[in-house]
């Protein structure tokens, strides 16, 4: 599903590469943690997979497509097969939970009728049934992240990328979000999560890939934070 082959990424003006000759493969349906200290290069992996940045060297394959050579006008369509969740939720403050999720559908050309059918369903799935018409500021952090997860998942992507999704949440709420991601993973969606929340990694017991100074130092099938 995801394949990095000898990927090196050096940002302009950076003294050393953020990713240094990284090769890793992720199968369909896997749940993978990328862990490591700040600045280790784990977030760069998310950016590469979204085609927000291009690798300096090497090849990035997503869903059997070479992202490196993707033409820029094909990027939007490519992104529709990937859902994304961030630490800061990135919700639109002037839209309700329902509208935030529906917006993601409507801007990729789905009709309002489709949104009316699909959005309540996915909001129910993330545990926000009954709170569809609340605005983000009327929701707790955990609830806002649920809206973000609903938005990422509403289009049934093959891959869900999560960049420190629990970074702004307290431990209990974090666990709830992890249960939600786990549930999404069980539907067959590949989940790639970047985190430095040791508590969560230790509880989940999933594949752990540790990155330090741009290199993979550990790749463990049912790992702990260590």
């Amino acid at each position: 599903m995801i394949q990095l082959e000898n990927v090196t990424k050096t940002y302009p003006k950076a003294s050393r590469p953020s990713l240094d000759d990284v090769s890793v493969g992720i199968e369909k349906g896997e749940f993978v943690f990328f862990i490591g200290p700040s600045g280790s290069g784990k977030s760069t992996i998310i950016k590469l997979l979204l085609h927000e940045v291009s690798p300096t060297r090497g090849k990035v394959m997503v869903n059997a497509k070479d992202v490196t050579t993707l033409r820029s006008w094909k990027v939007p369509h490519f992104r529709r097969s990937i859902g994304c969740v961030f630490q800061d939720f990135r919700l639109l403050p002037n839209r309700t939970a329902y509208e935030n999720v529906a917006f993601a559908l409507e801007v990729i050309g789905k009709t309002k009728a489709v949104a009316r059918r699909v959005v309540p369903e996915v909001l129910e799935l993330v545990g926000l049934g009954g709170k569809e018409h609340r605005y983000p500021h009327e929701l707790s952090g955990g609830e806002q992240q649920r809206v973000a997860v609903a938005r990422a998942f509403v289009n049934r992507p093959l891959i869900l990328l999560a960049d420190e999704p629990t970074g702004n949440l307290d431990p209990d709420t974090s666990i709830e979000i992890m249960r939600l991601l786990d549930r999404i993973n069980r539907t067959g969606t590949t989940v790639v999560m970047v985190t430095h929340d040791s508590n969560i990694v230790n509880q989940m017991r999933r594949r752990v890939i540790e990155i330090e100074s741009g290199r993979i130092v550990r790749d463990q099938a049912r790992g702990v934070y260590g």
Partner: protein, 291 residues
């Protein structure tokens, strides 16, 4: 639904930043008015040229001491010249009569001119008025000729003034267009900034580039079109006020401005306004909304 969304975004966008929108429309319309005036003037001068040059004459004034033989030699030279379309001869008496007719409102002036002070002349129409120089060179050397005068050189002075006005209007149009372009660019940047969250989400979930950009580009196009319509109205009103009323005296010199030509300015201005705004907005977005 997508169309409705885009149109709604356009209206909201124009309204959100209404002072900037108004500034954009005003500069755009002034620029386009100048452009329209310049094009109209160009068409007008062209039309006047073909009208006047068709009626243009070369006058060959004879010396007062011209002999009968010289006069006949000149007549012969003119009649046999292949460049000449037709020729007429004007005696001193005829010249005086014409002069008196022309200046009949100033009897003092007429009285001061005696019957012998006006020269006799040949009036020649050339087949091609552009060939005046060749004709003059061929005829100038003959005995008994005082002066060869081409009306064309007089007209050219008039046309030069029109050309200068036209160039001036074009320069103003250009300067205003530059101001309008900067305003369009700035408006689009402000609009993109105020919608940065929406744009970020749209990019994230894979909205196509045209869908992200269309509301911004259309916003500029709508402003450009409104500017063009206002510019056209200004042009039309000034045509009616200036040429049909205030400057009616000039209509003896100016060939009338064709209303069809004025109407032609509407699609021209609208097209220029819309395309220029769209391209500016699009280029601005290329820098501002990288995908």
């Amino acid at each position: 639904m997508r169309l409705k969304y885009v149109l709604n975004e356009v209206l909201v966008g124009l309204w959100r930043n209404v002072t900037m929108t108004v500034a954009m429309i005003i500069t755009m319309s002034v620029s386009l008015t100048m452009l329209g005036a310049s094009v109209l003037l160009y068409l007008q001068v062209d039309q006047m040229k073909s009208y006047y040059y068709g009626n243009i004459e070369v006058s060959i004034f004879l010396r007062s001491d011209v002999t009968e033989a010289q006069r006949q030699a000149i007549d012969q030279a003119i009649s046999s010249n292949p460049l000449v379309a037709e020729r007429t001869y004007e005696t001193r008496e005829e010249a005086l009569k014409r002069f008196q007719e022309l200046w009949k409102d100033s009897p003092e002036f007429v009285k001061s001119v005696g019957p012998n002070s006006l020269p006799e002349s040949f009036r020649v129409k050339l087949k091609n008025p552009e060939e005046y120089k060749t004709f003059a060179d061929q005829i100038q050397g003959l005995q008994g000729i005082q002066d060869v005068i081409d009306q064309r050189t007089l007209l050219e002075k008039v046309f030069n003034i029109f050309n200068a006005i036209q160039v001036g209007a074009l320069v103003v149009a250009g300067v205003m267009a530059l101001a309008a372009l900067l305003l369009v660019g700035n408006t689009i940047q402000v609009a993109a900034y105020s919608k940065r969250r929406e744009v970020a989400v749209m990019k994230l979930v894979g909205a196509s580039n045209w869908f992200i950009q269309a509301p911004f580009v259309l916003e500029a196009v709508v402003a450009g079109l409104i500017g063009a319509i206002l510019g056209f109205i200004a042009l039309f009103v000034s045509k009616v006020v200036l040429f049909d009323n205030k400057l009616q005296a000039l209509t003896n010199i100016l060939t009338p401005i064709d209303n069809g030509n004025v109407w032609l300015m509407l699609p021209l201005l609208a097209g220029v306004g819309a395309v220029v705004s769209a391209v500016t907005a699009w280029v601005t977005l290329r820098f501002y909304l990288k995908v």
